[in-house]
């Protein structure tokens, strides 16, 4: 167990826990955008920064990755911390002016847009939190999407932005996207869905007859789990 202090409160955390884990365990809120229980932390959004004091030294760290250590004193709302969070939100407001999530977070924290930052028009709502890419790799296991380019030109998508042959159309990326940037369109009848530029034919439930999952996804599950495809022909509601 690591014994330390967060915002003046004495805290114990299990070895291997991060400062963020420990804070949340103890009801101390730290905002985050790129961390998720299913896929872990990336340290990318920098909204979760906290100030860690150890002896005479103070440093700003990402609480989602910083391991809880004996004897540290964590300040989750110091001036330096708030300055970073403020800038991060102002930068994201300028990058994704259409994102309700960012607007809400900014409002909660009393952050106003910086007039010197011209709002982007080409980034959509993507804040590059990486949740979609990590989900596709770690949860789904297909790595159909990844990053292209670097810096401000960095984008999420399929390799070379061509139709992906490994994408199974499961839509997990769209589901986890916190800003709603990833679009998945389903036809009125529900017989197909389109995501990342590719249209997937939907399979019908053998019992109720409703479209319930992309055929490619069922094939993928059958192949990876070793379950015959016919065992996957019934939707969850009818199982």
């Amino acid at each position: 167990m690591a014994k330390f202090i967060i915002d003046g409160k004495k805290i114990e955390a299990e070895n291997g826990a991060t400062v963020l884990d420990a804070a949340r365990e103890n009801g101390i809120e730290i905002p985050t955008l790129c961390t998720h229980d299913e896929v872990g932390s990336a340290g990318a959004c920098r909204l979760c920064v906290v100030e860690v004091k150890q002896g005479n030294r103070a440093k700003i760290v990402a609480s989602c990755l910083y391991p809880a250590e004996d004897g540290i004193a964590v300040d989750t709302k110091s001036e330096r911390v708030m300055a970073v969070r403020r800038l991060v939100l102002q930068l994201l407001l300028a990058r994704c002016p259409g994102s309700g999530l960012i607007q809400d977070l900014a409002e909660q924290m009393g952050v106003k847009p910086e007039p010197r930052f011209t709002a982007d028009t080409d980034k959509g709502k993507c804040i590059l939190c990486r949740l979609c890419v990590r989900t596709c790799e770690q949860v789904v296991g297909v790595s159909a999407i990844g990053f292209s380019f670097r810096g401000a030109d960095k984008t999420v998508g399929t390799p070379f932005h061509e139709n992906s042959q490994v994408c199974i159309g499961c839509g997990a990326c769209a589901y986890i996207c916190p800003t709603g940037h990833i679009e998945m369109e389903t036809t009125k009848t529900g017989d197909s869905r389109t995501i990342w530029g590719r249209t997937f034919k939907m399979a019908t439930c053998k019992v109720c007859g409703r479209y319930f999952a992309p055929e490619d996804q069922l094939k993928y599950i059958s192949r990876t789990a070793g379950v015959p495809l016919e065992n996957l022909a019934v939707c969850i509601s009818c199982r």
Binding site: I60, A83, V84, L91, G151, D153
Partner: protein
Amino acid sequence: MSKIKTLDDLNQAGKRGLAALIPSRIKIMVGMATSGIASGAQEVYNALEAEIKERNLDIILSRTASMGMDCMEPLVDVLLPGKPRLAYSKMTAKKAPALLDQVAKGTIEAIKPFYRMDEEEFIVLGGAKRYFKGAAPAYLRGIPTIQEIPFYKKQVKIATRNCGLIDPESLDEYIAKGGYFSLYKALTGMKPEAIVADVIASGLRGRGGGGFRTGLKWKSCRDAEGEIKYVICNGDEGDPGAYMDRSVMEGDPHSVIEGMIIGAFAIGSHEGYIYVRNEYPLAVKNLAFAIAKARKCGLLGKNIFETGFDFDIKISKGAGAFVCGESTALMASLEGAAGEPRAKYIHTVEHGLWDRPSNLNNVETWANVPAILTRGGKWFAGIGAKNSTGTKVFSLVGKINNIGLVEVPMGTPLKDIVYEIGGGIPGGRKFKAVQTGGPSGGCIPEKLIDLPVDFDELRKAGSMMGSGGMIIMDDRTCMVDIAHYFIEFLESESCGKCVPCREGIRRMKDILEEICAGKGQAGDIELLQEMSKAIIDGSLCALGGSAPNPVLSTIQYFRDEYEAHISEKRCPAAVCKALIAYSIDKKKCTGCGVCRKKCPVKCITGEKKKPHVIDRKKCIKCGACYESCKFDAITVK
């Protein structure tokens, strides 16, 4: 080539090497580092080779790399048995026959040598060997010795000890200079702990930028748990205008390899990687050649020096991302992933490459190791400054007379580097500032010219050592424009993983761009400072964590220039195009018409021998007229 397994084998190779270094026949060496080749060394070599063949001369023609004075390239050294070594600068293929004529005659009439060397230093072994006995021949006394050349006078070479003196492809010559004796000593006579202790005692700090104590890093990696450990050499030198590591890899690749083997033995590693940028083709070639040769001779591979110690090195070529010079991004790239850094809360010495203990040092750091091992940590600690021991290689570029690579003891005053070694500012102009530490370093102004250059002093001045780039600026440099230049570079090199670096740097660039365009607003300086602080605090890695440095340091030392741009819409250095205008001084203009002919948009008119005029509406402010006027008649405001 036979195997080198024993001390006797080393001595034999050393003897062969010495006979090649200082032969009993005439030897001509052409400096064939990238700097030489760029200046035409290949043509010079080809011409010499053809001429020697045609005349059937008994001359050994060999290649070496660069001793650092790149502004004098191509450099050709001539060594006549029993005579001082002579260096000829700015050689051309045309001059080759004349050079061979005078070499055959033993005169210096047709082409005057740049300097002479009476002796050659053997840093690792200690001491020097004279090329001849007695006094220098009378006809050469008027030629300055290398120690009398201001560029070399204050230099002390440890990391670049062999560059420009040996053939980088000759293992024998490297051994003759004391090479691989340190490795022999380490493997056969020292415990790993003792090696680590000696490196700690040397005070050597990482030459790649961080300045972390090398010995302590080795110790942490040695103490880390894990069967498999890696040693890595960072050769991804990407700072604009910096080429210290390139020079070492091109000129003395075995010094890096030997350093790595010693480090691996001290740490307990059997696998090493050299990560070198692919934009350094000659460095890659020379390293690959040296590794293959070392492997062939048994200096890499299984059972080195029959001690049972195994170690080998692979080269991995970087694909051009600046951020891959950052250790964790480099390791990600080595693993085959995109070059993105990760948080270093868990140190790479414990969880690095493939999550295993990994020790990464840069090229120059590794090259220092063999010298430390033979001469001792104490010897190294006695050179340089108290907390920054040894020497540091700097690349001196920009508005400076002697452009080149210099190695000086840490703590050498900036003034000595700029005015003595560097020879001051071209055209008699005024020194304004020097950017140290690469694009994310800082600008040090003229008033701090007495600053001793070491890790701590540079940091105190708001800059950093970085890998050793020094970009000299004269009074015609606009500091806002310079800050914009560096920020723009970093914007394009940000990996894009974390928000403050990816989004923050480009917003800073936008604001700087507007200031340069005369669209700066009141409060911009404060906003830039505020953003800088948050970006430094909030960024994931050192790229973002240091990116605002050039902005902060130029604001700190040249705030008046920012203010002039913002409130007066004026660029004091007359650089920012939107804020300047060219005009012709009627009193000074002779009507020679040169500017009229030079102007690419034909906006200068005037009759012959009568004052000319510039049509400001058409003028694109390229400055061609300004540069071409011999009468100082063009003014810029």
